[in-house]
């Protein structure tokens, strides 16, 4: 019998992502040693109201942009970043 270890990551949400979720953070469960790519899929599956936006999100870990191959640690500061439009 294999035991799948999971972690729970709290994702900060901004702009359209925050409005779609109706709140500023969401918890996402993913396998230990999970990546941003897995987080993106898990976010869609566990929070369907974000499924349409998920492919367009960037993610940041500890205030730096991270790509889909970046590993996610449990206590990292993770943020979902819709396309920016400052200025």
């Amino acid at each position: 019998m294999s035991v799948q270890t999971t972690i729970t990551v709290t994702v900060q949400l901004f702009a359209g992502a925050r409005e779609a979720a109706g709140r500023g953070t969401l918890d996402v469960v993913l396998s230990d040693n999970g990546t941003i790519g897995q987080l993106r899929r898990a976010l869609s599956e566990q929070h369907p109201q974000l499924a349409a936006l998920a492919p367009h999100l960037m993610f940041a870990i500890d205030t730096r942009y991270a790509d889909d191959h970046t590993a996610v640690a449990e206590h990292a500061q993770v943020a979902a970043i819709p396309p920016v439009s400052g200025g």
């Binding site: 901004f14 439009s85 400052g86 200025g87």
Partner: protein, 138 residues
């Protein structure tokens, strides 16, 4: 100097904060909330930021610019919150010994800021419609 808050942007203060007897050229860019985008009238814009990350990225933009150009002083200011048309929403001021560098650095700073920094704006139209603006529309 970087600043990201709800306070009005003062062009004169920015100019004086970067001007120097060592800098022959000073360039100030001001971004202004437009009233019309095509035929669509804007009632107001609402700016929001991932404050901690945006401040770090603005400071990093300043560092990068200082490595690329011989900058004497540099200021990057972005305003947040509800802004009506004709309000200044963003400003970049750069001073350099010679003017070509000030133009190039200011242009690079505002272009890069708009591409990367986690700041968003929601456009509220005059018929109650509202949407998050996508990149490249302004």
């Amino acid at each position: 100097m970087i600043r990201l808050n709800h306070e009005p942007i003062d062009p004169a203060e920015l100019c004086e904060s970067v001007r120097s007897a060592r800098a022959g050229g000073t360039v100030l860019f001001l971004g202004t909330v437009r009233e019309l985008t095509g035929s669509v009238r804007t009632e107001f814009l609402e700016y929001e930021a991932y404050q901690e990350m945006a401040e770090k990225m603005l400071a990093d933009l300043e560092s990068q610019a200082r490595q690329r150009w011989p900058i004497v002083e540099c200021a990057i200011v972005h305003r947040l919150g509800r802004l009506e048309p004709k309000t200044v929403c963003v400003a970049v001021a750069v001073s350099t010994p010679h003017r070509a560098d000030a133009f190039e650095a200011a242009r690079w700073l505002i272009d890069t800021l708009k591409q990367n920094v986690p700041i968003w704006k929601k456009e509220h139209g005059d018929r109650g419609a509202a949407h998050w603006v996508h990149p490249g529309t302004c």
